[in-house]
C-alpha cells in the first residue's frame, strides 16, 4: 500500500479545500495510505516568479523540511509541482527532486489507475494548464481519467492549450491583459457547448470562474480531483 503525503498547496488549503478532500478520497479509494503533514504551507512560487529568490529559497527550505522522509508527495496542481520539480534546482545548486507528483500523473503513471469508478453527468471541456502542459508534459493522463468517468462527455476546445491569463501576480499587475486572455478562453469554451470546465490547477479555475461569473454564465469549473471523487 503506497504511503502518500499530501501537499495540498496554499491556494487549495485556503480557497478550494474541497479539492484537497476530493484528492485524498480518490487516493484512498485507489488503495493509498494518505497523510497530511500540517506544518505545510506554500512551495514558494509567488516569490520566485516575482524575482525574490532569497525569499523563495527560505519558503522552499521549509517545504523540504516538512516533507523530509516522505516517499510520494502528491499535489493537486501542475504549477506547484513544476516549481518544486524544476525550479528548486534554480534555488539549490544540484538539487534533484524525484518524490513530487502531480495528482493525475500519480494516478496514471505510478498507481497505473485510469478508472477510479467516478460518475458525473456533464459535458466537460478540459483546460491544459501551462506549467503542467509545457514543463511537466502532462496532456494525456487527465483526459484518460476523464474518459473513464461514467456519464461524462469530453469536448475539446480549440484553445485548450492557450494560457488562461492567470500567471500569478500577472493577473493583478496586468489585469486588463489577463482579463482579455481569459475572455478569449471563455469564447473557446462556449464554442464547445460544455457546462463544465475541468483542469488540474485551481488557480486557472479561479481565473476562469471569476470571468465566467462576471459574465453571468452558468458554466462551472471543477478540479479534476472533484470530478474523480464524484459518484
Amino acid at each position: 500500500m503506497p504511503r502518500v503525503s499530501l501537499f495540498v498547496t496554499c491556494v487549495v488549503d485556503q480557497v478550494f479545500p474541497r479539492v484537497g478532500m476530493a484528492m485524498a478520497e480518490v487516493l484512498e479509494r485507489a488503495g493509498c495510505e494518505v497523510e497530511f503533514r500540517d506544518e505545510q504551507t506554500c512551495c514558494g512560487q509567488p516569490a520566485f516568479n516575482s524575482g525574490y529568490r532569497g525569499e523563495a529559497r527560505d519558503v522552499a527550505r521549509h517545504f523540504l523540511k516538512v516533507f523530509e522522509g516522505a516517499e510520494y508527495i502528491v499535489v493537486p496542481s501542475g504549477s506547484c509541482t513544476s516549481m518544486i520539480d524544476h525550479h528548486y534546482a534554480d534555488l539549490f545548486e544540484g538539487h534533484q527532486e524525484t518524490r513530487v507528483w502531480e495528482f493525475s500523473r500519480f494516478l496514471v503513471d505510478v498507481l497505473k489507475v485510469e478508472d477510479v469508478g467516478a460518475k458525473l453527468d456533464v459535458l466537460a471541456t478540459y483546460h491544459d494548464s501551462c506549467h503542467a502542459l509545457r514543463e511537466l508534459k502532462i496532456k494525456d493522463a487527465p483526459r484518460r481519467l476523464l474518459r473513464n468517468v461514467r456519464g461524462l462527455r469530453l469536448a475539446e476546445m480549440d484553445a485548450a492549450e492557450e494560457c488562461c491569463g492567470f500567471g500569478g501576480t500577472f493577473s493583478v499587475k496586468f489585469a486588463d491583459v489577463s482579463g482579455a486572455m481569459a475572455r478569449t478562453k471563455i469564447d473557446s469554451i462556449l464554442r464547445t457547448g460544455a457546462d463544465t470546465v475541468v483542469s488540474i490547477d485551481s488557480s486557472c479555475l479561479m481565473q476562469l470562474q471569476g470571468v465566467l461569473s462576471r459574465a453571468g454564465s452558468n458554466i462551472r469549473t471543477m478540479h479534476l480531483a472533484e470530478v474523480l471523487a464524484s459518484r
Partner: protein, 454 residues
C-alpha cells in the same frame, strides 16, 4: 521605481477590429507552422531544434574565430567587411559610401537590424531617399509607422487602410494594390544606386550572405543596383554552408509554415570577369551595438541564438492581445521582452519582463530552443534585486516569514471569515476583470482535523 506600461496596451485592448486582426493573423501563422512540423511531416523536428541550438551555441562560443574566417572569405571574393561597434558607426559608413558614390536613392529589403539602428532616418537627414521594398514595410513607410511584427510588419493594417495610403481608386483588391506597389517599386529598383539588405545568415566558410524571402524584393535589391550592402548583427554567423540544411528546414516552417520560402539567396562577393551576375561592390556591415555585452552573460546569451522567425510572437497570448506597438523597442513579443532589457538596460522598461504569465508557449516553439521563460525569470530576479520596489520586497519578506511559520499562516482564516474587504490595490485590479471566488468558511487543514484525521 517601476515605470508603468504604455497606454498603448489599453488602446490596443479597447480596439475590437485590431484585436481580431492581431489574433487571426498570428493564429493563421501558428496554424500554418503547426501543419509543417507535425511528426508525420517532419519526423526529426525536435532533433533539428536541438541541433540548431547547439550550432548557435558553438558558433557564439567561438565567435571570434568565425567572424575572422567570415571576413577572410568575404575579402577573398572581392567584398569588404565593416566592423560597426555602434549604430552610429553603421549608419555613418552607409551614409558616407552613398555620398562618395553620389547615390541619392537606395532600395532596402526588410531588415529589423536596420530598424534597430534607425538607418532610414539617418539617410533622410543626409538627403538620401531610402525606399522600403518589402510590401509590408513599404506600406508602413508611407504611413510613417514602424514594424508591428518581426515577420509581418503591416499585420495591423486593413485592406481599406492600405488602399487609402496608396491613394487607390475605389474597388481595390489585394491584387490591385500589390500591382500598384509593384509598379512604383520597379522604377525604384532600376534607379537606385545602392541596395541594402539584412542577412538571415552569414556563412563563415564561404563569406556568404543568405537571404530568405517571399516577395523577390531582396533578390532585386541585391542585384539591380551596382552596390550591395548587407547589414547584420554578429550573431547571424553560422560556421558552414551545410549548416543551412538545419536552419533552412526550421526558419520557413517556424515563421510562416513554409518548408522553404519562395526565394533563398546565397550571395558571396562581387562579380568576377566572365560571371553572369553579382554586384560591382559588396559590403557586409557587421553590427555589435551591444551584442558582445550580451555574449558575456552566460545565463542570458542564448538570447542571441534568435533567427528572427517570429514564432514566439505568434504563440504568445500576451502579444496576441497587446500587439507590436505596446513593446518599447523594435523587437516585440517574447524575444523583444528578453532583448530589450539587455540592449537598453533593465531600468529602461522594468515592467517588461513581468508582462508575461510565463505560459512557456514561446520556448516551446522556438526553433533554436531559447529558454525564454527561464531568461524572463533571470531578468525578474535582477530587477527585483537592483531596481526593486521596496514595498513589494517587504511584502514578499512578510510572505516568506508567514509561510515559514505555519501557526501564523493558519491565521489567514480571519481573512476568509471577513468576507468583505476594501477594494484597493491588487484586490481592485482583480475585481476590475472578474469576480472573487467564494471564500470557504473552513480551510483544508481545518476540515482534515474535523474528520479526525491526523
Amino acid at each position: 521605481m517601476k515605470s508603468s506600461p504604455p497606454h498603448k496596451i489599453q488602446e490596443t485592448l479597447a480596439d475590437p477590429k485590431l484585436q481580431r486582426a492581431i489574433y487571426s493573423a498570428t493564429g493563421r501563422l501558428a496554424e500554418n507552422r503547426r501543419k509543417t512540423v507535425l511528426p508525420e511531416v517532419l519526423p526529426d523536428f525536435q532533433d533539428l531544434r536541438e541541433h540548431a541550438h547547439n550550432i548557435k551555441k558553438h558558433t557564439l562560443d567561438h565567435l571570434d574565430v568565425y567572424v575572422d574566417e567570415f571576413e577572410r572569405n568575404v575579402l577573398a571574393r572581392g567584398g569588404i567587411v565593416i566592423w560597426a561597434n555602434t549604430a552610429a558607426e553603421a549608419c555613418a559608413f552607409i551614409g558616407n559610401l552613398c555620398r562618395e558614390r553620389g547615390v541619392k536613392l537606395v532600395v532596402k529589403s526588410k531588415s529589423m537590424t536596420s530598424e534597430e539602428i534607425h538607418l532610414n532616418k539617418y539617410l533622410e537627414k543626409d538627403g538620401i531617399e531610402a525606399v522600403e521594398t518589402d510590401l509590408g514595410e513599404y506600406i508602413i513607410q508611407l504611413t510613417g509607422e514602424t514594424p508591428y511584427h518581426i515577420v509581418a510588419p503591416a499585420l495591423h493594417k486593413t485592406l481599406e487602410q492600405v488602399a487609402d495610403v496608396l491613394h487607390a481608386p475605389p474597388g481595390a483588391t489585394a491584387e490591385s494594390l500589390t500591382a500598384m506597389a509593384r509598379a512604383t517599386l520597379r522604377e525604384k529598383f532600376l534607379a537606385a544606386g545602392v541596395g541594402i539588405t539584412g542577412a538571415n545568415f552569414l556563412v563563415a566558410d564561404s563569406g556568404a550572405v543568405v537571404l530568405v524571402e517571399n516577395e523577390g524584393n531582396a533578390r532585386l535589391s541585391s542585384s539591380a543596383p551596382r552596390i550591395h550592402i548587407a547589414l547584420a548583427g554578429i550573431e547571424k554567423l553560422i560556421p558552414r554552408a551545410q549548416d543551412l540544411a538545419v536552419f533552412l528546414k526550421l526558419l520557413g516552417r517556424s515563421g510562416t509554415g513554409q518548408p522553404l520560402t519562395v526565394y533563398t539567396s546565397y550571395l558571396a562577393g562581387t562579380r568576377k570577369p566572365g560571371e553572369p551576375d553579382g554586384p560591382d561592390e559588396f559590403y557586409v556591415v557587421l553590427l555589435d551595438n551591444g551584442r558582445t555585452k550580451i555574449l558575456a552573460d552566460a545565463k542570458k546569451r542564448q538570447s542571441l541564438f534568435c533567427i528572427r522567425c517570429g514564432a514566439c510572437l505568434n504563440h504568445c497570448p500576451v502579444y496576441r492581445k497587446i500587439g507590436g506597438y505596446s513593446y518599447p523597442w523594435v523587437y516585440s513579443g517574447p524575444i523583444g521582452k528578453i532583448l530589450t532589457p539587455q540592449f537598453m538596460g533593465r531600468e529602461h522598461d522594468p515592467w517588461l519582463p513581468f508582462a508575461s504569465s510565463l505560459c512557456g508557449a514561446c520556448g516551446e516553439v522556438c526553433p533554436v530552443k531559447i529558454e525564454i521563460p527561464k531568461i524572463l525569470l533571470e531578468l525578474r530576479q535582477e530587477i527585483a534585486e537592483k531596481e526593486g520596489d521596496r514595498a513589494e520586497h517587504l511584502a514578499f519578506r512578510m510572505f516568506s516569514w508567514v509561510m515559514r511559520h505555519p501557526h501564523v499562516y493558519e491565521q489567514f482564516r480571519w481573512v476568509r471569515k471577513m468576507g468583505k474587504m476594501p477594494a484597493a490595490g491588487p484586490l481592485k485590479a482583480w475585481l476590475s476583470q472578474r469576480d472573487l471566488p467564494n471564500l470557504p468558511q473552513k480551510s483544508f487543514r481545518e476540515l482534515w482535523r474535523e474528520r479526525g484525521r491526523s
